[in-house]
Structures are given as structure tokens and as C-alpha cells.
């Protein structure tokens, strides 16, 4: 029997995306025009970026690569906020919540590597200059608060400002933000910004179509391997990753790329409208997408095996086992801290720089790993541990106003 519900290589991980289908295809939404005093303007009602737009968003290979680089940045930009929430939970409190946030952060790392694998898979090694790195560390680091990269504009409740990603201590506000980042989009909801993606899932949907179309085009043009002409030696392989249910997948063809995206959005953000009723399953031993993990923290309650019967958008709350979440046993970290906040305290500034050097070192390491030296990822993981200890040192330092210092995740030059 075809396994519809779970990933092929990991029977505990749900499969949450549907295959791409060329037909039936929703007709392009006819644009409504209103004539007012001889002038033609677009109708005031908001339209979601239509399915056709998503499908045809990527026009050529350079744009596909650019989108994948943006995806890399997107995954990276979510890691520091998750880490801030995780680090600020004081030792021994909110254990369940800490474990859930940790698992998400660890999987965002996985997603970064998977995106890099896709990008490497469609990059002809002949086009890579000696020593060229996959991305530019200095420019990929976001400046918090930051909108989501890639023209992704999640819908916000009326009256709320546009969505930004922030470095915050573990708090309801932070978890709300995470829910927004990871929220599977609702096909029936109207959009704030009709020219933007309404969620990460939709952005990846565009990438999926792009991969498919570009690959088919390349095959039509006589390239046997389609766009998958990358150097297999640049692929990061499974043994380099551990700590979550996810697996690194080598990407060598279109099917691999689809599986990789399935892992990213299936566990992560969910794809536009693909979470159907009766298909989401909960309960012990079943792994589900990040959005639901954050919902559990927000409610202080696990999903139970009975929580299957709901429709998108997710409105039902978890009804399983309660667990303790303490919003007070938390380091009171200043929101979106910056090195310049510490300028009047040189030893603290030095510590903050020390943290950022480690952060840059980590990114350099990942960058080198995905640029032809996959074995370096193991070293990168050790830097990741060090990052945590350096962050905790900052959090132990009071600022004198009831708040404490925190990691700023900014770029610094290394010595």
C-alpha cells in the first residue's frame, strides 16, 4: 500500500505536502476592474498571490538559484530567534517547552543544509570559481527586527503592524511570533499584501514549481540530467547530522530535491493548504510540524491522538497531556539587543563581540561545509555548543535596569 501519510525514509515523520499536479489547475483569477470616472484601477479587495502566480513565479535558472539563496537566508534568519528563546529559559524550568524549541532550532539547521544541497545539486561545478563559497556570511546575517526574507508577508490580525522577526526572550510574544513564522497558510484567507507570498510554505511551493519547470525545460533541451548537474562531492551526507528526527538527504536529481523540500516544509512550515483534515496525526512517537509544537507551548498542552479532526486554519487547541510552562523563570533579555547598546561597557561589549565571533565562525564553518567540505559540519556543531555557553554568559550580566544582556547575532570581522 502506498504510504500516503508518512515519509518514506522515516515512518514516524508525517508527510504533509502533496505532489505537484499540473491539472486541474485553478484558472487565473480574473482581475476585477472598476471603472471610476474614466480611470481604471484595481479592485480594492485583496487577492492572494494566486496559484498561477506561485506556479510561474520562477522564470529561469538564475532566479531559481536566487530563490534558493533566499530560502537559505530564510532558514538562517529564524535560527537566532529560536535560540534566544531557548537560551533564556532558565535551567530546569519549562523543560518540555525547551525541548520543543530546541528540536525546532536543530531542524532549522537541517533545513539550511538541505537547501544548500539543492542549490549545490543544480550548480554546475564548472561555474564555481576555486575557493568560492556558497553564500556571503556578512550579508546573509539579518538585522533584527527584520521582515521575513523573500517577500513573505504573513497576514497579521487587523490593527497589528507588519510582521517582523525579533530576538526575544522566551515569552508568549515570542511564541506568537514563532507560530506566525511557521503557520501553514490558509487558502481561503484574504491577504494583507497581494503581491507577496503569504507564508514560507507558499514561497517553497514556488521553488518546487521552479525546480520542476526548469528541470523539464533542461531535459527538453537535451540535458540528460536536467538542471541536476552539480558535483556530488559538495553534498552534505546523512552522517553529518543528528539530534532530530530529520535526515540530511543527498540531492542528485529532481526526486531528491522534492524529498528535501518535503522534509523542509513538511516538518517546518507546511505548504499552502496541504494540511487536510484527518491527515494530521498526533500522539506519542509521531512527529509533527513546527507550528504544532509552538501551539503546544502556547497552550501548555500536548496534542493527543484525538486531535485529528480539524480544518485549516488550525483553530482547535491541543487536548492532550498538560505540561508546565513558566513564563517567569526566564532571563529578562533586552529585546533585539545590539552591540552598540553595550558601548558604554567595554568588557561587556567585548563579550558580545566574542559571542558574535563564534556566531560568524559557525556560519563560516557551515558555509565551508556546503561549499565542498562537508566533513567540516561536524566541527561546526561543536561551535554551536560553544555559542550556547557564550550566550548564557551574556544573559548572566545584568544591565542595571532589570534587563540583562543577550546575544546580538551581528556580523563582526574575525581576528
Amino acid at each position: 500500500m502506498e504510504n500516503k501519510l508518512f515519509q518514506e525514509n522515516n515512518p514516524k515523520r508525517q508527510k504533509l505536502i502533496r505532489p505537484l499536479e499540473e491539472t486541474p489547475e485553478p484558472a487565473p483569477a480574473p482581475k476585477a476592474f472598476v471603472e471610476t470616472a474614466g480611470r481604471v484601477t484595481a479592485a480594492p479587495e485583496v487577492l492572494k498571490m494566486s496559484m498561477v502566480d506561485v506556479k510561474n513565479y520562477i522564470k529561469d535558472l538564475p532566479q531559481l538559484r536566487a530563490c534558493l539563496l533566499t530560502a537559505l537566508q530564510l532558514e538562517l534568519s529564524t535560527i537566532p530567534p529560536y535560540l534566544c528563546a531557548l537560551y533564556t529559559i532558565k535551567d530546569g524550568s519549562s523543560q518540555q517547552a525547551a525541548a520543543l524549541v530546541r528540536s525546532v532550532a536543530v531542524e532549522e539547521m537541517l533545513h539550511m543544509v538541505l537547501v544548500a544541497n539543492i542549490l549545490n545539486a543544480i550548480t554546475d561545478p564548472k561555474t564555481i570559481k576555486e575557493g568560492e563559497l556558497l553564500f556571503d556570511v556578512k550579508n546573509i546575517i539579518p538585522n533584527y527586527p527584520t521582515p521575513l526574507p523573500g517577500n513573505i508577508v504573513p497576514k497579521m490580525p487587523p490593527g497589528k503592524p507588519a510582521f517582523t522577526v525579533n530576538l526575544r526572550k522566551f515569552s508568549r510574544e515570542a511564541i506568537d511570533g514563532f507560530c506566525t513564522i511557521e503557520r501553514p497558510s490558509d487558502p481561503d484567507e484574504s491577504l494583507t499584501n497581494p503581491t507577496a507570498f503569504d507564508g514560507i510554505g507558499q514561497f517553497y511551493q514556488a521553488i518546487r514549481w521552479g525546480l520542476k519547470h526548469m528541470n523539464e525545460k533542461a531535459i527538453r533541451e537535451g540535458n540528460k540530467n536536467g538542471i541536476f548537474t552539480g558535483d556530488p562531492k559538495r553534498q552534505v551526507t546523512p552522517e553529518h547530522y543528528y539530534g532530530s528526527g530529520g535526515k540530511i538527504l543527498k540531492v542528485e536529481n529532481y526526486e531528491d530535491a522534492e524529498s528535501a523540500i518535503e522534509e523542509i516544509v513538511g516538518q517546518g512550515e507546511g505548504i499552502d493548504g496541504t494540511i487536510a483534515a484527518n491527515e494530521v496525526m498526533f500522539g506519542e512517537g509521531i512527529e509533527y510540524a513546527h507550528y504544532f509544537k509552538f501551539q503546544e507551548i502556547a497552550c501548555g498542552r500536548m496534542y493527543s491522538a484525538n486531535d485529528t479532526n480539524f480544518q485549516m486554519p488550525v483553530k482547535s487547541i491541543p487536548t492532550g497531556k498538560h505540561f508546565d510552562v513558566s513564563w517567569s523563570s526566564v532571563f529578562n533579555m533586552k529585546e533585539n539587543p545590539k552591540m552598540k547598546d553595550y558601548e558604554n561597557n567595554p568588557p561587556l561589549l567585548e563579550k558580545a563581540k566574542g559571542f558574535n565571533r563564534t556566531y560568524v565562525q559557525l556560519l563560516n564553518n557551515i558555509n565551508r561545509a556546503v561549499s565542498g567540505n562537508p566533513e567540516l559540519l561536524i566541527e561546526g556543531i561543536t561551535v554551536m555548543y560553544d555559542l550556547k555557553y557564550k550566550a548564557l554568559e551574556l544573559l548572566n550580566i545584568p544591565l542595571g535596569n532589570g534587563e540583562c544582556a543577550g546575544p546580538t547575532f551581528e556580523y563582526v570581522d574575525l581576528l
Binding site: E379, T382, E393
Partner: protein
């Protein structure tokens, strides 16, 4: 008499001289208050008062330099005959997390400075990750671009 909050400040300042770790490094352990309370709870009140008076004098002496302060510490605080050996106990507290041989708390064990001084981590905590031990410690490896 000096008030409590200025004593904490003095405690931090003199701890930096006693341990060879900067005030920021000491604060970053998160143990400052715990340790201050530990010495208060376990040292004779008179010894405490005279100790902080002496510390205050040493740290506020005119024309002080690190060298003069260190010299004064060696003469006036370090000898066992001074304040029932409080200065040495303070050093041991920061380095090992123990007060006279007894662990103050799980956190004090984990934050012991001796591990950092030796470029390592307390066994069972602050683990450095898979394979880290195959290379020199990160604290001595130069970070490169």
C-alpha cells in the same frame, strides 16, 4: 559601616583581583550573589566587616595601581591569620564552586573557574559536542574567516 550593595560591589572587585578573572567574566558566571551570600552565611560577622573595610581601603588607596593593590592583597588579605582565611576561601569558592570542601550548588560546580582556566569544561556539563576533543580547545584556536 558599609551598606550591603556596596559590599557586593567590593566583593566583585576584590574577587577579580583574587581570581585573575575580570569582573565581567565573574558576572558572566551568574554566581556573584550566591557567592556573596555564601561568605556572609559562613563567616563570622566581625571578620566580614573588617574584611570589607580592609578591601575598601586597599581599593580606594590614593595612587593605587594593580601592582600596589596586589601587594596589599598579599600582605593584608592572603595570610591565613587574616579574617580567618576568608580571602583564600573566596578564591577556592570561585575556582572550584566549593565552600571549604562542600559544593555550594549544582550551578557553583558547573561555574567553577578552574575548568575555564584549564581550557576545558566541568565534567558532565557545558559539553563541547561530538568530536570536539579531537582538536585543541576552541578557546585556544584562533578564529579564522
Amino acid at each position: 559601616m558599609i551598606n550591603a550593595s556596596s559590599n557586593v560591589k567590593l566583593f566583585l572587585e576584590i574577587s577579580a583581583f583574587l581570581t585573575g578573572f575580570s569582573e565581567t567574566e565573574l558576572k558572566a558566571t551568574g554566581m556573584l550573589e550566591t557567592y556573596y551570600n555564601t561568605i556572609l552565611a559562613n563567616t563570622d560577622g566581625n571578620d566580614i566587616d573588617y574584611f570589607f573595610q580592609n578591601v575598601s581601603d586597599i581599593l580606594s588607596a590614593p595612587e593605587r595601581t594593580d601592582a600596589t593593590i596586589e601587594q596589599a592583597i598579599a600582605m593584608q588579605l592572603i595570610p591565613d591569620s587574616c579574617y580567618s582565611g576568608l580571602a583564600k576561601n573566596i578564591i577556592a569558592l570561585w575556582y572550584t564552586g566549593n565552600w571549604v570542601g562542600t559544593v555550594v550548588s549544582a550551578a557553583s560546580y558547573i561555574q567553577g573557574l578552574m575548568w575555564e582556566a584549564g581550557h576545558t569544561h566541568p565534567p558532565g556539563a557545558k559539553q563541547p559536542g561530538y568530536g570536539s576533543w579531537a582538536n585543541p580547545p576552541l578557546s585556544i584556536v584562533k578564529q579564522q574567516n
